[in-house]
Amino acid sequence: MTAIRATEAGGAGMDVPAGAPGPAAPPGGGAGDDERGQGRRRAVLAVVVVALLAAAPLVLNPYPVSAMTRMLAFAVLVLGVDLLTGITGLPSLGQAAYFGVGAYTAVLVGVHLTADATAQVAAALVMGLVAAAVTGWVAVRARGIVFLMLTLAIGESVHQVADTWSAVGGSNGLAGMPPISLFGGPSLIAAGFVHWWVLAVAVAVFAAVALVVRSPYGRTLRGIRDNEARMRALGYRPALARYGVFCLAGAVAGVGGALWAQQARFVSPGDMGFEVAALALLSVVIGGPGSLWGPCLGAALVLLVRDNLSASIGGHGPLVLGAVFIAVVLLLPRGLAGVTASLRRRRGDTTHRAPVRRRKENSS
């Protein structure tokens, strides 16, 4: 790193509260009472959103319900990416690999062992964790754009293994997964029941990730993101913390993959390719890295664009997506979470603020 960039990175730690650490602490700042009121409003909003998602199967047709189920599963993957990219400042293009590992695990368990949904998710969680632990040490030694490069290489390698390995169906993928069941009950065939199961797991993952983000470990991760040298000087071990969050993100992605596979009852290498990883990263960027609800909303938007808009214009999805990537960077510098934060600032705070934005990270 040049001296100039190092200074920039050092300065970033001081003046930049990059991204909201959690739903309760928006970067806009304000009086304490205001914050508490906001927290309550957000809790109410969260309950309303979950209630609406839970009520959806009662009023909607199976097709939109399964589309929403897919969005929830994808949002779980995006939460894992956000743990890395938003919280720890490690942009990843390889998380789709662990998503795929989770999906393949769930299908294999479903075909060969049990239709029990909890067992499938547990197996996928473990396999996602193991896969991330085995491959992740290559990546976590790097930072910034080198990390992106290495995760891309890992992700593509795992993808190509799935694509060529005949034991897991090669490029044809794995079909024939029986419908899931819960606690020895009957098979959940109706889209609504699957939706409720996926929603329950997604909410649990969201809560778990929120807990991690607010824990001392989460603060350590944000400290590493903002100023790694200082954290090391304070006695923390950034490399170990990064490895830990990488494994955790792999486990989260594995759970997302299991949910995805349980909805589709099919998995193919296409579910874990470069495009999926790029879409997950795009969801985080659209939603606002570091916020948790923003990337989930981003996940829903991105899948909506991919599955609906691209189909309605004759299957030219990548063209639209490419344009979206470019537009997001140029028009939405801090994502949706950033837009609401700046709207709030404009309403409350009249003093001019510099754009709150993480500086170019140290990519040594």
């Binding site: 290559v138 754009i145 992106l148 593509e156 390995w165 490419g322 344009a323 140029l330």
Partner: protein, 290 residues
């Protein structure tokens, strides 16, 4: 032994192409801190230029024309990417921008040429085979190996032995210092970006008779180029060469011996190298990137 010789020669041909492709990626990354995720798409532009211009009869003139056209198209695309990535100073944004451009370019190519696999005929005079140690081997691939050798020497002389090269190497090491010395580093950066992209497109033309052109090839090529750059050491010409030769061999021998795991072997090679040398085999001597 003779079959292994064929694999080794295939690996050298692959290595030559990978060197041409990875060099631009490595230098742009080393100098500008920009990971050009559209690099694979630029390669694919070259491959489809070959599809469009080279006829089935294998005319030499058409092939040379395709090489020149691809170089120009690639350089223009590189210049565009250089301008676009200067909009923002953030790594992640630059990566997403180039990713977006890559997706658009690949999709436009798929719209223009369809999703079929296109094959390209090598120029007629070199389309045959020649006997090497009792095995018949395509002349065209030997020429590609020769191209790699010539390119390596030319780039070595340009980057390591010329005044322009010293500016380029110094810009990799410390852009601010070079700018303070009065060099227009912006122009150097755009020039390297355009040259690197042009080289990738030329690589696409030269690879077309071997690998053909099809959607999805951009991702595969980008991945291989990334691995080459990581193994070789960021921003290093000699590193790109060594990494390309190594990965070319791993790919060719892996495909011959363990076809199911060839793609995994490439990653395993990267993991082993990074385990032993976290900064790559031959990091740029002046590099500041770890």
């Amino acid at each position: 032994m003779a079959t292994h010789l064929v694999s080794i020669l295939n690996g050298l041909a692959m290595g030559s192409l990978l060197f041409a492709i990875a060099l631009g990626l490595s230098l742009v990354f080393g100098m500008m801190d920009v990971l050009n995720l559209a690099h694979g798409a630029v390669y694919l532009v070259g491959a489809y230029v070959a599809v469009a211009l080279v006829s089935d009869t294998g005319g030499v003139a058409a092939f040379v024309l395709a090489v020149l056209a691809a170089a120009v198209a690639g350089a223009l695309l590189g210049g565009l990417l250089a301008a676009l990535t200067r909009v923002t100073a953030y790594h992640l944004d630059q990566a997403l921008l180039t990713l977006g451009v890559g997706l658009v370019v690949a999709e436009v190519l798929a719209l223009a040429f369809g999703t079929d696999v296109h094959s390209v005929t090598a120029p007629a005079p070199v389309d045959g085979g020649v006997t090497v140690l009792g095995e018949t081997y395509p002349v065209y691939r030997l020429l590609v190996i020769g191209f790699g050798v010539v390119l390596a020497v030319a780039v070595y002389v340009l980057v390591e032995r010329s005044p322009l090269g010293s500016v380029i190497r110094a810009t990799v090491a410390d852009r601010a210092m070079v700018a303070a010395l009065g060099v227009n580093t912006g122009r150097v950066l755009v020039g390297v970006f355009a040259a690197g992209a042009g080289l990738a497109a030329v690589g696409g033309v030269l690879a077309a008779p071997i690998l053909g052109a099809q959607p999805g090839l951009d991702e595969k090529v980008l991945l291989l180029a990334l691995v080459v750059v990581v193994i070789g050491g960021l921003g290093s010409v000699r590193g790109a060469l060594l990494g390309a030769v190594l990965i070319g061999q791993v790919q060719a021998l892996g495909t011959a011996l363990l076809p199911e795991y060839a793609s995994f072997l490439v990653f395993a090679a990267m993991a082993v190298v990074l385990l032993l040398r976290p900064t790559g085999l031959l990091p740029a001597r002046t590099a500041v990137h770890g």
